[in-house]
């Protein structure tokens, strides 16, 4: 139930953010600090999501097969692999590490 609330809440909010840009006078968004902040916030959040997704189990920091998968994905990224290759390499690496453990 609360998952649906989250789904619909984000749907409403994300659309409001998009529509606001079409309706609100442009000068509101001209402050360079607002622009910089808006474009940099995703960078900080995505970095944190990498941490939460690969090194956290609830409130514990853990090292497991997911970290090996991420490391392999990082190598693929450094070799300029496309997105699909990146995620497949990460998944396969984690699967192999788990199978061996």
């Amino acid at each position: 139930m609360s998952t649906w609330a989250a789904v619909l809440g984000l749907a409403a909010g994300a659309f409001a953010l998009k529509l606001a840009g079409w309706l609100v006078p442009a000068r509101v968004f001209e402050d360079p600090r607002v622009r910089r902040g808006t474009l940099l916030v995703p960078v900080a959040l995505l970095a944190a999501l990498v941490v939460v997704q690969t090194a956290a189990d609830g409130r514990a920091l853990v090292v497991d097969a997911r970290l090996a998968g991420l490391a392999a994905g990082a190598v693929a990224l450094a070799l300029r692999a496309p997105f699909l290759v990146l995620v497949v390499v990460a998944a396969a690496t984690a699967a192999v590490v788990r199978a061996l453990a």
Partner: protein
């Protein structure tokens, strides 16, 4: 091609995080902005509540507001077309619309937005259904979600300031995970942009 891969990963990530395939597809139809959708399922999958999950998604969606400001100036739409255009305001359609020669800006925006919408939703459905019938852990799909975030992050890190923010966001999350409830570390990481924003 890249959109299909993102969509597949998103559908699989959503189901891995505990959403139903219907919820995954509803996100792709109704939210239709990839990074925000990934953030929502990432926080929910980590055990976070609906409120931090939605806030995280909205923080990632705020850049669409800036895109819309540029597009509104460029395309000058009115009425219902403006509402539909708002829904299609994402990275790809903005990039194509603003890069095209001005007479073709509208065509580039609409054709990109609509084709990405179709592809994104079809791929989400495939990924969600696919992940529902396999053993997520044995295939390492949970690790693929973290890698997907890394891939999204790499697209956004284009200069040293962004790299510094990424490092700071990582450190904030590492410190916050043991100290705060799930979902909160991701929101706290947003504070990592403050030094770069306040500085002159």
């Amino acid at each position: 091609m890249a959109v299909g891969a993102y969509g597949l990963s998103f559908g699989a990530a959503a189901v891995t995080a505990g959403l139903s395939p219907v919820q995954a597809c509803a996100l792709s139809v109704l939210v239709f902005t990839g990074a925000s959708q990934f953030a929502l399922v990432g926080v929910l999958g980590a055990g976070g509540g609906a409120v931090p999950a939605v806030l995280g998604g909205l923080l990632l969606g705020a850049r669409n507001t800036l895109y819309a400001v540029r597009l509104a100036d460029l395309l000058g739409l009115r009425g219902l077309r403006r509402v539909v255009a708002a829904h299609l305001t994402i990275d790809e359609s903005t990039a194509m619309g603003t890069a095209a020669p001005p007479p073709l800006a509208g065509l580039a925006f609409w054709s990109t937005g609509l084709s990405v919408f179709v592809l994104w939703n079809a791929a989400t459905l495939l990924g969600a259904v696919g992940a529902g019938v396999v053993d997520v852990r044995a295939l390492g799909l949970d690790a693929a979600v973290g890698a997907a975030f890394l891939g999204l992050l790499a697209l956004q890190v284009r200069d040293r300031t962004a790299l510094a923010v990424a490092v700071a966001g990582t450190l904030v999350a590492l410190v916050a995970v043991p100290l705060t409830p799930p979902g909160v570390p991701v929101l706290l990481a947003a504070l990592a942009v403050l030094p770069a924003v306040v500085r002159r």
